[in-house]
């Protein structure tokens, strides 16, 4: 019994370690002082005001939202198609395709970024900028959608689609009225996950960001190299709030564990 309590205590310490920097960011954002000290110096929202008034940050924030939205839209369509094919039509190629569609998660993102940058230059396009970022982020996001949709498809009963066809629904009507509503939750959580990962993606953005096309993490990174006043904390708190929503939604629908299995 003493062993069990010691174990619970030990685990508690590690949980604290995991959550500590996140709590600290939120506290720093709400703290009135220029930097967080112990004890805190009172409550204030002034860093959020700073953030709202800082044009570089707000611009990067909006740009990141747009970028994540675009990349998520593409990745959701592509990842869902891939999952449908692998779950239903791929026979001998299933394993190879699964490896391929999860690969962008398993290769070091910094190398993927470098490879894309060199590749875009070779194509004589404008290598750094919005278009490149959208492509790069789409690639990075596909595995999340693929994994989430694969999970719901694994539990999908094909006879539901046959029942719909038998009742007079065309293949398209069957997909829209039966398949999509049932796998929809998986698609949605994959998309949410893709969005949040695109929003926080760093290495690929570092390589492909261009003039006027700077995602928020890059902007923050540049800022923090010279300065770390709590404006960054305010930005971080907004990000943490977004992540919390996604976590709660995803955990309900497919379970978070599944989406990181691909890392193996």
């Amino acid at each position: 019994m003493r062993g069990a309590r010691a174990l619970a205590f030990l685990a508690g310490v590690v949980y604290a370690f995991l959550l500590l920097p996140i709590v600290v960011v939120v506290l720093a954002a709400l703290n009135a002082g220029d930097y967080l000290t112990f004890p805190p110096q009172g409550f204030s929202l002034r860093w959020f005001v700073h953030f709202a008034q800082d044009e570089a940050f707000t611009h990067a924030f909006v740009f990141s939202l747009e970028l994540a939205a675009l990349a998520t839209a593409f990745a959701t369509v592509l990842g869902t198609l891939a999952a449908l094919y692998v779950a239903r039509h791929a026979r001998r190629a299933a394993d190879a395709l699964r490896v391929l569609f999860v690969a962008p998660l398993q290769f070091p993102a910094i190398l993927t970024g470098v490879a894309l940058l060199i590749f875009f230059y070779a194509l004589h396009t404008k290598a750094q900028g919005t278009l490149s970022l959208v492509v790069g982020h789409t690639i990075i996001c596909i595995p999340y959608v693929f994994l989430a949709v694969s999970v719901v498809l694994a539990g999908f009963d094909r006879s539901l689609e046959e029942a719909a066809r038998g009742l007079g629904a065309s293949p398209f009507a069957t997909f829209r009225r039966v398949t999509l509503p049932i796998i929809g939750a998986g698609v949605a959580s994959g998309a949410a996950f893709a969005f949040i990962n695109s929003f926080g993606e760093f290495p690929v953005s570092l390589m492909l960001a261009g003039v006027g096309a700077t995602p928020l993490p890059i902007e923050l990174f540049d800022y923090l190299r010279f300065d770390f006043d709590p404006t960054a904390a305010a930005v971080g708190t907004v990000n943490i709030a977004m992540a919390t929503v996604v976590v709660l939604v995803t955990e309900r629908i497919v379970g978070l564990e599944v989406l990181y299995r691909g890392r193996r």
Partner: protein, 288 residues
């Protein structure tokens, strides 16, 4: 009519596969292949232009430069230290988490995984707030009348950050092999007269080796290729391999050299992993 339908049924599925396959082939496989190709091209002086003839010169330069080896050694050292620390912290956490049930388990699971969804830069910032010379930890130390410590812009800060970021992956790997029928087997061992320590050494630890193995490999690989943490928590004091690659590519525009460096780093990491796999394979014989 039936022929037409049969033909359609055979080919229609490829309409699903084609778009994602094309996108990944064009924007994932092709860029990597291109990068490897470029690592064999001759760099031109200045401006990022490069071209034929094919050469091994980039690799000769990369391998011949002791500076690169020093950076590689440091990168691998941090990654190994991170994997070890993550194992030490993650093992009790996973052991505890597996034995929870229901809503409690779900909440704890969220605690483990949620940090992964927060922007790495912001997580690093959290550590900066804590570890800076004027940071939270030092202000606490000062209150207690203790001397200030240098906690970041050095190896310590980098490893703390790396452990924090990759610990969840370690926990996930361990969960698999610490759950299942392991709790039952432990009870069986206790029933056969083994005490707590011997149960752990003879049953729990050997059976959890697959999880330990996959967790350490995963964290090692992720840590070795991390860019953000060493840049922010190491300041300009700590240079690692991914930073060096990025520097060559972004600041010096020396792509053949950057590409060969990337290949060098990947190859060496794989080589180490191969040795580790052999070693662990011997230890795990019979567990599968």
């Amino acid at each position: 009519m039936r022929e037409a339908r049969a033909r359609w049924a055979r080919w229609a599925p490829f309409a699903l596969l084609l778009p994602p396959l094309l996108v990944l082939a064009l924007f994932f496989a092709a860029p990597y292949a291109n990068m490897i190709y470029i690592s064999f091209l001759t760099p031109a002086t200045g401006g990022g232009a490069y071209g034929p003839p094919l050469t091994l010169g980039n690799y000769r330069d990369t391998l011949g430069d002791p500076f690169n080896w020093r950076i590689l050694a440091r990168t691998i050292g941090y990654a190994a230290l991170t994997a070890f620390a993550a194992l030490v912290l993650g093992y009790p956490l996973a052991y505890h988490l597996v034995r929870q049930t229901g809503a409690r388990r779900a909440v704890l699971m969220v605690f483990v995984l949620a940090p992964l969804l927060v922007d790495v830069v912001i997580r690093s910032y959290g550590w900066m707030v804590l570890l800076a010379d004027t940071g939270l930890v030092n202000s606490l130390l000062a209150q207690l009348g203790l001397p200030r410590q240098h906690l970041m812009y050095n190896g310590f800060g980098v490893v703390v950050g790396l452990v924090h970021v990759y610990l969840p992956f370690m926990v996930l790997s361990l969960l698999g092999s610490l759950g299942g029928r392991l709790p039952e087997l432990e009870l069986a061992a206790r029933g056969l007269g083994a005490d707590g320590l011997r149960t752990f050494l003879r049953v729990t630890w050997p059976l959890s080796l697959p999880g330990v193995f996959s967790g350490t490999v995963l964290v090692f690989v992720l840590a070795a290729s991390s860019y953000v943490i060493p840049s922010l928590l190491g300041g300009n004091q700590v240079l690692t391999m991914p930073m060096l690659v990025a520097q060559r590519v972004l600041e010096l525009f020396d792509w053949p050299s950057g590409a060969s460096l990337a290949a060098f780093m990947s190859a060496f990491t794989l080589l180490l992993l191969w040795g580790y796999v052999k070693l662990m394979g011997r230890a795990m014989r019979g567990i599968g």
